[in-house]
Symmetry: C2
Subunit: 364 residues, 2 copies
């Protein structure tokens, strides 16, 4: 049994968007990302404990729907996530996600949650963690190219965990950059809006590319990359969706990936030969591989997002809501007295209850 | 866009256990299974429209957690389902399931629902549909071996769709059989509890095996099977879990499966050579293959449950709740005004709202 003590008979703990927003607002975005970074580091250090598969994607004309299952033998996590860059033109999210955490021993869900916000947090935490290990220790300026839904989380993560103090923004949509400036007005970060990607990367120690178009783009050209730069390239994350000039990858001293089989399919390295040398990040965490031998090294993190990061985030959230005793309980698994008597649930149902306001949620 | 008109901005329609029980109680189990059978028949007839993969299973000591994704290019469905036979000893369900139906065009969920009850209904409907096509037309007696959570649904499906009027029950747990008798007291079925599987199959036209042990069992021996019998073998559904004497499969005139690649791994035919001849059911629905050339044929349905059946059930349910205007709406996808401004959801959250009773559900 997992360590969580809520009886599966009592329903499934549930975190709605509103509950997540309030929880993170109170706990603090930087605090949450910092704690997540520590949790991620611990889970990357026990990489072998996880049963790992590439995510299962169903591609359509304008997007993809993906499942990201993983287990450590004690708990099982799965995220449902789409990626539809076209959605912003419809006033919808590019990414709409929810997730489940389950107890392997019983197979019962022990958490259902929104994962739009949680994914932004875990992606920012992963970016910050990899940067902490692979960027220059004295990094202080972040170029943030692509100022969509993830950007504020990315900037705050790099501030809290890596210590950057300046942010240079660029987006093809100026309103997106303006939104970041407004959202981060009280963050203590020194923020500049730039007119081009070239201008944004001037003097940057860390460059985050976080664009959403489903195409092979060249957000960064090779000539824009200077000695010692660290690239956090997280927008190229599905087949046919890349952000970097292939020459950047070729001349980088190290290309860091999460789970190599998945990144070969989805990452910027899909542009390169299948045996192009990369380093899985868990080796870096475990100290098996020195990445920054000199301050001049160019290092690229070809981040696509891996299921283990969602696992870490779901376990972290499950702990957080238990610690704060703040969650609802969702009536989504039958709980009749005799498990073999499923029929009794239907037979004994009140005929009128489907039209009432259901008591499907009860505060813990 | 799918035909469902609820705006994704309004949240995700949700069917709780209580709502499902009330809905099915009112609509009627036999009526629901009958309608589901028609929907299944239509979807099996357009088999080629589906992007099909075997379910993705994560096995552990006492069970499995599985994902069953599928799409027809218009909608996408995925069921989360476990199978832990040991759970009944812990007063928990063997199977706890929930599912999602999504719009492929936007990637947004358009239904989240309990699937413990829905799975029992779709499994009964699938069994009834295959039997309608493959059992003798004059079948009137059903032997039901294994009287757990699925049994009442199975019996009512065979009554409503195939026209059986007599049921002979057997289970190693006599209380389970007694429960079926009590639950079906008003069903109009003539029900007998038997002392052995041998006794139960005497005079049966259709034999349903629906046992749960995760092992290679022999619920039916070859000598128990007479001319003209139809076997609905649905309990053997994962690697190392079978119910039939292999000789029954060898001497059957036809062995029907749902999706051959998955059944090779999970079905009773896992006991046989990989090229053992089977017939995918969609061929039968489409009239490509005559199954019952004489009344003496022995036909086996090696049913394991396939994702397309859940797809059908989810679309059926989505239609039903829309028609009856009976569902809740779950706050699980962020809905802020500017899709790129995800940060605003956290920034603007009310600090105290996480401790209140959330308004995560609103009746439609």
């Amino acid at each position: 049994m997992s360590k969580f003590i809520v009886s599966p008979k009592k329903g499934v703990p549930f975190v709605s968007v509103e509950a997540m927003a309030a929880l993170i607002h109170e706990h603090g975005v930087e605090q949450t990302i910092t704690e997540l970074t520590l949790a991620l580091e611990k889970d990357f250090a026990r990489w072998e404990a996880f049963e790992k598969i590439s995510r299962i994607a169903s591609h359509s004309k304008d997007g993809a729907i993906e499942l990201m299952p993983i287990t450590d033998g004690d708990m099982y996590a799965c995220k449902y996530v789409n990626g539809h860059p076209i959605n912003t033109k419809r006033d919808l999210q590019t990414v709409a996600a929810f997730g489940v955490l389950s107890d392997v021993d019983t197979g019962y869900p022990i958490l259902l949650t929104e994962m739009c916000i949680l994914t932004a947090l875990r992606t920012a935490a992963t970016s910050a963690l990899v940067a902490k290990h692979c960027a220059r220790q004295d990094a202080e300026t972040l170029a943030l190219i692509g100022n969509g839904a993830q950007s504020e989380f990315q900037a705050l993560g790099m501030k809290a965990v890596v210590g950057i103090s300046k942010v240079r923004l660029y987006d093809v949509d100026p309103a997106a950059s303006k939104k970041v400036v407004e959202n981060l007005a009280d963050s203590g970060l020194d923020i500049t809006i730039c007119n081009s990607a070239e201008e944004a990367v001037e003097g940057a120690d860390i460059i985050t590319t976080c664009t959403a178009d489903k195409k092979n783009a060249t957000i960064l050209r090779d000539d824009m990359i200077k000695k010692g730069m660290y690239l956090n390239a997280i927008g190229g994350d599905c087949p046919g969706k890349t952000e970097l000039d292939a020459n950047i990858l070729r001349r980088a001293d190290h290309v860091i990936v999460e789970f190599e089989p998945q990144t070969r399919i989805e990452g910027d390295i899909q542009q390169l030969e299948p045996d192009f040398s990369v380093t899985e990040f868990h080796h870096v965490v475990k100290g098996n591989k020195a990445i920054r031998s000199t301050a001049d090294n160019v290092v690229v993190f070809d981040g696509v997002g891996f299921a283990s990061e969602d696992f870490t985030a779901l376990v972290y959230l499950r702990n957080l809501i238990e610690e704060k005793q703040r969650y609802d309980v969702l009536d989504v698994i039958t709980q009749q007295k005799d498990p073999k008597n499923l029929f009794s649930v239907v037979k004994g149902a009140r005929q009128d209850s489907a039209v009432e306001a259901f008591d499907v949620l009860a505060n813990a």
